[in-house]
């Protein structure tokens, strides 16, 4: 009886894990597709009949010291080291030297092309995105902690009204604030500087709201007891409240970092020079109104998403907690 119950339990666990694994694989599918596409040639990207990059023939030539690699279809061996080929990029049939032909399957060169395609290069964009995301995250977490602390543990006039006004600002679409914000930054002389990319995001209502809700669950008596024992207000905040509130603080940090890393519209509006641009602006270079360079876009997306995947691996627990607590997907 006990054995069969244990077996049933095992079977149920197996079933659950089976479905979870399928769910996990489905979730991985877009990433899988992204990486495979990043290794294909432009012609292969649109092929619906195979998933993996196939072995392809390329004609490699050097013109004016620059290497040119073009995919070809070999039509006929003409002898004397000559081959009749069709150039895929212009659909032209020509005779070429067979020595110039090479076979490749995975086009790792797409990564190099994508990295160097934008000016000055993705290295600069990475540095910008990283600096902006880190400083914004630290700033926003700090201001959220201070504001939420005041809203919960201090008494001041119009406290609730002020908090409601704070919340109401969440309902204003960001797009409507673009031009007024641009005008303010322009008056301050901050356009095309790190200040414009960072300062407006140093405070966020979402973080204040989330922390206020968490702080409100902490007994008031704890604050009173600390005060009686001679602890200062900042002492209570940093020695007691912050250590107790690490999960929501990490959640806010993750969301702020992700928001900053993925931001496109704001960096484009407040920066002009290529040196101040971020990785999302770099990605937009491959996708235009008239068409998209899929293989390069996917290669660039792959290396842009890598830091986030590393972050996810280390902070998985908090991502899940954050989504459960806020009802938002990362």
């Amino acid at each position: 009886m006990v054995k069969s119950h244990a077996r049933q339990k095992q079977f149920r666990a197996l079933l659950v894990h089976f479905f979870l694994s399928i769910g996990g694989l489905l979730m991985c599918f877009p990433f899988f597709w992204m990486v495979l596409t990043s290794l294909k040639s432009p012609q292969e990207v649109l092929r619906v009949d195979h998933w993996f990059p196939h072995q392809k023939a390329f004609y490699v030539s050097v013109q004016k010291g620059k290497e040119s690699v073009r995919q070809v279809e070999i039509l006929e061996n003409l002898g004397d080291s000559r081959v009749k080929v069709r150039f895929m990029d212009r659909n032209v049939i020509e005779q070429v030297e067979s020595a110039g032909l090479e076979h490749r399957q995975f086009l790792w060169s797409n990564y190099e092309k994508a990295w160097n395609k934008v000016q000055p290069s993705f290295t600069r964009y990475f540095v910008n995105s990283f600096v902006i995301a880190v400083v914004t995250t630290v700033g926003q977490v700090t201001t959220s902690i201070l504001a939420a602390y005041a809203f919960v543990f201090f008494v001041f006039p119009f406290k609730n009204l002020l908090f409601t006004v704070f919340l109401a600002t969440m309902m204003i679409p960001q797009e409507t604030l673009l031009i007024p914000n641009y005008l303010i930054l322009s008056e301050l002389g901050w356009i095309d500087t790190y200040m414009a990319l960072i300062v407006p995001w140093l405070a966020g209502v979402f973080g204040i709201f989330m922390l206020r809700q968490f702080f409100a669950q902490i007994p008031r008596e704890l604050f009173d007891a600390a005060m009686i024992d001679g602890c200062s207000k900042f002492g209570f905040l940093f020695k007691i409240l912050v250590p107790l509130s690490l999960p929501p603080i990490i959640t806010i940090s993750i969301f702020t970092f992700l928001g900053s890393w993925n931001s496109l519209l704001w960096p484009l509006i407040v920066t002009n020079s290529q040196e101040m641009r971020t990785i999302q602006v770099g990605l937009s270079y491959f996708s235009q109104a008239e068409g998209t360079e899929w293989e390069l876009l996917m290669a660039a997306s792959t290396f842009c998403i890598l830091p986030l995947i590393v972050l996810y691996i280390f902070a998985q627990k908090y991502f899940v907690q954050g989504e459960a607590a806020s009802g938002l997907k990362g």
Binding site: Y182, L188, S287
Partner: protein, 459 residues
């Protein structure tokens, strides 16, 4: 309390000080070679951006007075927002690429002139007479004021899979809409895709081939408007204060797409997916901007044809798309001179021909077509003549800034009609089309009326 008050006053003073320290329009800057810096905002990325950057490099090396500093703004809509914000802040670039609606907004709509009238420059320039009349008209506003020169102009073109055409025994792509419908229908019935042979085949000669569709489209007012004009209709009255998208000509035009979806030979795709479907040989025909060929050609490993947009019943007409380049007010005499030098250089026969040959945009002036390299391009490159042949029949969409909103309204109602048909609703298609086009027209006219009232009050 006193401490808090002191902090508050100090903060206010810092903010006030910062507020006043923002610079106004930038001062003239020179590089090491002594060339004056001209800032140019554009939204050309990918291969088009590469070509543009190459041209700018050529310009900077071709003379020693000016150097163009290009600044990429990602997308047209972001560029538009940024131009408006920069005008309000008084810190504009010197030159920018823009649609006509933005030109109208920055000049006629608000009763302010944020762009320079180019007439004094154009009068001294021998190139204006060579600019195609459609582009001249496109850049000329009330009272004959010229605010821009043409830049990246394109036309819709029909892309056909020649291998599929051969299978149904046709030598040439369809030349008009009814031919396109009948070819598409026949292809849908007779041709399939053989996954093993990896090519389209006749269904009668293959086992379990996949279906191939005749025609794929994205819901876009552009083609609908072309068809409407070709059928003898008109988009708006002369003042552009009223639109006629519920006329019988408009209903007939939309009905072409509806019939295709109903009969199964046409389907709609999202965004630019119809290009991908064409590349994957899932569909035989698409109509897209001539420039899309720049992005698509290296992906197409089959024989394809590019021909002008199919012709209609009444008129030979097509609608151009794309932006112009304009010079901002308040940038000073020296930079204005540099900005004009650059935009007129872009419109010189050699450069406009180079731009066209490398991007599939059309050249902006007639004498560019006489150049030997352009003749060679016209005769030998697939797709070159398809857009160039439409230059003499080019018309344009209404130009007001309210038209942008009208276009969104029109698209949303077109989408509603197609969605109803896709779902197989019982309502008669004619009455469905009439109902939705009536609603769209009413809403667009309301937008235009608001715009005209506002314009009158500000002028």
């Amino acid at each position: 309390m006193r401490m808090r008050l002191t902090i508050l006053i100090a903060l206010t003073l810092v903010l006030l000080a910062l507020w006043g320290c923002g610079p106004s329009q930038r001062a003239d800057e020179f590089n090491k070679k002594g060339q004056l810096k001209i800032v140019f905002w554009h939204a050309m990325g990918g291969p088009l951006g590469d070509v543009l950057n190459g041209l700018i490099q050529d310009y900077n090396e071709s003379q020693d007075k000016y150097y163009i500093h290009p600044e990429f703004m990602g997308r047209y809509d972001i560029l538009e927002q940024k131009i408006i914000a920069s005008v309000m802040a008084g810190r504009t670039p010197d030159v920018a690429q823009m649609y006509e609606g933005v030109t109208m907004l920055l000049t006629r709509d608000e009763g302010e002139e944020s762009l320079q009238a180019l007439n004094p420059w154009v009068e001294k320039w021998d190139g204006w007479n060579q600019i195609f009349p459609a582009f001249q008209e496109n850049s000329t506003y009330d009272n004959g004021i010229i605010y821009s020169l043409p830049f990246n102009k394109s036309f819709p073109v029909l892309m056909s899979n020649r291998e599929i055409l051969k299978l149904i025994g046709k030598k040439n792509p369809p030349g008009n809409w009814s031919e396109l419908a009948s070819y598409a229908k026949e292809i849908h019935e007779r041709v399939g895709y053989d996954k093993e042979l990896r090519k389209p085949v006749l269904k009668s000669q293959a086992q379990n081939p996949e279906d191939i569709m005749g025609y794929a489209f994205a819901v876009d007012p552009w083609l609908f408007e072309v068809m409407l004009l070709q059928n003898g209709g008109q988009m708006a009255n002369e003042e552009q204060s009223e639109v006629y998208f519920n006329s019988e000509f408009a209903r007939e035009s939309l009905n072409w797409f509806v019939k295709g979806v109903q009969e199964g030979w046409a389907y709609r795709t999202e965004g630019y997916n119809h290009q991908n479907e064409f590349g994957a040989q899932k569909v035989a025909f698409i109509i897209t901007s001539s420039v899309s060929q720049k992005f698509m050609q290296k992906k197409l490993n089959f024989d394809f044809a590019v021909t002008p947009v199919p012709s209609g019943r009444e008129r030979e007409v097509s609608i151009m798309s794309g932006t112009n380049v304009a010079i901002f007010e308040g940038i000073g005499e020296a930079r204005t001179g540099g900005a004009w030098d650059f935009i007129s250089w872009l419109n010189s026969p050699e450069i406009t021909s180079k731009w066209a040959r490398n991007t599939f945009y059309v050249p902006t002036r007639r004498d560019a077509l006489q150049r030997p390299e352009m003749q060679d391009y016209y005769k030998n490159v697939e797709g070159a003549s398809a857009s160039i042949d439409q230059l003499e029949i080019g018309d344009m969409e209404p130009r007001s800034s309210a038209w942008y909103r009208c276009r969104i309204i029109l698209r949303s109602y077109m989408e509603k009609v197609i969605s109803h048909i896709e779902k197989g609703d019982d309502e008669n298609p004619d009455s469905l089309i009439k109902r939705y086009l009536d609603m769209a027209t009413k809403r667009m006219n309301r937008e235009l009326s608001k715009y005209h009232i506002k314009r009158k009050s500000s002028s």
